[in-house]
Amino acid sequence: MDFWEVRDLCFSYPRREPLFQGLSFRIGRGDTVALTGANGSGKTTLGKLLVGILKPLSGQILLEGKDLQEYSLADIGARVGYLFQNPEKQIFSPSVKEEIAFGLNFRGFDPALVERRVEEMLDYFELKHCAHQFPFNLSQGEKQRLAIAAVLALEPSFVVFDEPTTGLDQRRKERFAALLQKIKARGAGYILISHDREFSSACCERRLHLKEGKIYGDDKVCGKA
């Protein structure tokens, strides 16, 4: 079964020209997809539509065979992780450690497992030195790593990353690419919304190219990070 099926999607922001008119595509469970396109082509908007932050004007988005409108945001969040383009938009806890543990704690995971997973994430994303710091005081790269860690701690079946490599240096980009391989290895899929064509082509097996509100290219790419 497809993880997402988008049928005749139409969307426009209020008092603006239509962004999508009759967009249709499918994404399978475990797919690794690079979503590319120029500025303003609608990559971020499409990502937000796929996780229910924005609602289509017409058409349908099916998530695991069920209309997205039938899910609450929390139901979608239990299946799909979403990394905002600006990490500050999704950081809300008073400490780095609490930010990573937030979803796990509220979803009733065992405290020992929460502690272990948080430690793993702090370690992998090199955030141990600031575990008790106030997240808003971190550098841009650290905030980006924290936002990714907080999303991945929940081990979602699919992740939508919106410009995940912004603010990451070359070494951390490579570590992030290795992490994407791990996500793929455990059977989860991801969509990489990125301007970094080289990085996204290396990390994904499929590339959807958006142009003028349509998918202009649906290609297979190498996907070897």
Binding site: A74, I91, F102, R107
Partner: protein, 250 residues
Amino acid sequence: MATIKFVEKLDPRTKIVLVVVISTLSIIITDVLWLAGLLLLSLLLLFMAGFSPASIFSRFRRFLYLFLVLLIVQSIFAPSGEPIITIGGIQLVTMGGLLKGVAVVVRMLIIISSALLLLTAKPMELVLGLIRLKIPYEIAFMVLLAIRFLPVLVEEVQDALTAIQLRGVKIKEIPLGQKIKVYTYIFMPVVVSALMKAKKTAISMEARAFRAYPHRTYLEELNLKSFDYATIAAALLFGAGLGAAYFMGR
């Protein structure tokens, strides 16, 4: 439409006077019927300014819960007159209390609808208007910043709420204690972000020589025209007349 052009052409100071007169009347008048009349007048002004009934209603709808809370609180805590709902000998809702609640809601509607008139002026024109009304530039500019940043703050609350729900937290279904905790999580980033924005804005303004010289010049100038004087005079006369008529008729 000639009426829209008329309202558009008004100087921002004239619009400020209109809003002040209507809002002041809504505060000094307590009778529901008088308030209803004043609400009709402010709605008429909004139609003349080109607002459609749907756009006015959608703006009112955002305050629906606030109106309901005000109505309930007023009708419970200001009891008078005939009881309508009595539980265990305690008068929960009375006719007088309910009327007071309705009066408070109508007063809020008048203030909101009259303030909407200011939306027909550009933010910078409003600042110029305030300056011409002898408000210090720093304070007038703060008003502009508040107008500019209010939608940003609303968006940030929405983003935090979305981010929390996308971590799989069902806000509607969690117990009250946890719900309160979640709401503290929402307001923390909003307050922090407001403080950070204020700091960055201050640096950006000072980098562009804000308050470097005691006197400022402005690219655009405001001039009161004859219909502005006529509108201001009519608004002040109307305000004084209605206020006097209300107090003499009591």
